[in-house]
Symmetry: C2
Subunit: 338 residues, 2 copies
DNA sequence: CTGAAAGCGCTTACAG
DNA sequence: CTGAAAGCGCTTACAG
């Protein structure tokens, strides 16, 4: 920058001001500066600028699980949102490990990101959120929501679940299985709660419903699912609460040579890419994942703009895509009398 | 840091040195400093540090296409590699747009990343690479390799393709279709070239082979595929060169109610997650995508360590996963006499 | 073993 | 309309 100033015969102040358009400068002077910038191939140093202004124009993203397709889509939304706001994205993967999550947050804070989007791990340490709040750096929770007065964005799980249960009950299913996995993960817990509410709203007998939960993401869910599907009072319909859980359950379905939907109706949250090529064609609750990501950036920006405003929670509505795996919707069987 | 120094009754030099372990300091003094750091809740400012040292301990990743699953896996490898080297990752998405790619590179350079991993867009502007080389910032090309003396890592396409073609020819197929898409994308071009080499190596008649290419990623490939599969001399086997192309081709297969592999043998590069749940079960050439990502980081580190060493190109071998879509491998039909 | 001071490359009151 | 200078929070010769 000193070089540029010398070349143009002005002070560095002036160079800075033409660079940033931050005060009037004589057209001729500006010309000379612009020419000097050209000639020298000068590029502004974002680091020095950020340091001086205490603003990095970057945000951090802490990811718990890059594997699930719904997550990947949220990340795309975040990228898109960040790009359109001119923000650079620093990404750290916590890989479902609370310690790594805490380290990731610290690293990102040390780099002075202007804000942070956080998809927390199951069993996230309280230290993480506390440290974040103490740091005063704006942040928003994505997907994995908490019972806290902080900005957050996720999916509305109850309406979709009740629609699904009602659809199944309407086709005469009254013994359902819910494969929910690790209920420490907020969306999974929400789906289970919504399931139980829907079961009672539909007047299904609670004792006839099976809920398959696990202690961690890595737990193998196959064995309990196998047991459920083989049992004497085996369910006639199954709802998987994530892509991963659906894949595990479907493997068991295949192994037991059950036919979907004849032997078992099957529905899943999140589901798979290219559902029309997947067999069976799965009824799927689809999150507006891209929009969730975009919204996270919007919330973050709003928070950065007005740090004192009230915390807001946004829940976007998913849609239920009906496919053959739960029978044809229009030709649905009349409900059996209980 | 000044606060910490005051609290401990030492100079900032000493604080810096205990922080970085960069020179001996009297145990008692260190104790006092450590205590002062604790007490004040001091956190090192990575920005200031990076600025002073001209080293950010961060690397940039410019992604062309976050959609394909093979790419997602490479990104996971990069995350893992970066994490284990203590590098923070700045990610920018070029979304297959050469202008955005150039902007992304500039942004990342302005932030003084220590190195850059680049998965270039189709039709990437030369300006990008030139600017990168002028900047002297180490970089490595991933997946989309170039005919340049730069560090790069990708997959070996020819061996897998020739294995595939030989497998199909061995089952009596002598009219093949290759759905290759946009041949400006290096791996796709490589797959096409390998296909043509394999066809001639197997002694198949070149005029009976169909190659379906397109001008851009977004081009709809359905129509030419439809024409090929309906034609009078329709192929008896099809090879799709990416997940996206496989999905497009399979949609046509479904639409024409062709049975795989009875009416048409089908194989694909990259393929889908959960291949055993996908229908049909697809013979798939699987890249070691995670390792490609890890290797990118290794190459980058090697380059950072010795800027003058020779450029190296690494090609990792994919594996061919045989499934029903190309017939049972062990019970393969005897080749028909030509 | 420790400290005073220069300097990384910028921005921004302050003064004219 | 422009410039001289302070300062962002660190690291690192240099000197003792």
């Amino acid at each position: 920058m000193v070089d540029v100033a010398q070349l143009a015969g002005v002070s560095v102040s002036t160079v800075s001001h033409v660079l940033n358009g931050t005060r009037r400068v004589e057209p001729q002077t500006r010309e000379r500066v612009v020419a000097a910038i050209e000639a020298s191939g000068y590029r502004q140093d974002a680091l020095a600028r950020a340091m001086r202004r205490s603003q990095t124009e970057s945000i951090g993203l802490v990811l718990s699980d890059a594997g699930e397709p719904a997550f990947a889509e949220m990340v795309r939304g975040i990228h898109e949102g960040a790009e359109s706001e001119g923000l650079t994205l620093l990404v750290a993967n916590s890989d479902e490990d609370p310690d790594r999550e805490l380290r990731a947050i610290r690293t990102l804070l040390a780099r002075r990101v202007d804000g942070l989007v956080l998809a927390r791990v199951a069993g996230s340490s309280d230290a993480a959120i506390e440290e974040l709040q103490r740091s005063k750096v704006p942040f928003v929770l994505m997907d994995r929501l908490a019972d806290l007065a902080v900005d957050q964005v996720g999916t509305a799980n109850d309406s979709a679940m009740s629609e699904l249960v009602s659809h199944l009950a309407g086709q005469g299913h009254h013994r359902l299985a819910l494969v929910v996995g690790d209920t420490r993960v907020p969306p999974l817990r929400e789906r289970r709660d919504a399931f139980e509410a829907a079961v009672s709203a539909e007047g299904l007998e609670p004792g006839s419903q099976i809920v398959v939960a696990s202690q961690s993401k890595r737990d193998d869910i196959s064995e309990p699912v196998r047991r459920a599907l083989r049992g004497p009072n085996r369910p006639t319909a199954l709802i998987a609460c994530s892509t991963f859980l659906a894949a595990s359950a479907l493997a068991v379905v295949q192994e037991l040579a059950l036919s979907v939907p004849r032997d078992l109706a099957f529905a899943t949250f999140d589901g798979f890419a290219y559902p029309d090529l997947f067999s069976p064609h799965l009824t799927t609750v689809r999150q507006p994942a891209f929009e969730v990501g975009m919204t996270a950036i919007q919330l973050l920006n709003a928070r950065i703009a007005s740090p004192e405003s009230r915390a807001t929670t946004v829940r976007l509505a998913p849609t239920v895509e009906y496919r053959e795996s739960t029978g044809d919707r229009d030709k649905s069987v009349d409900p059996q009398p209980l």
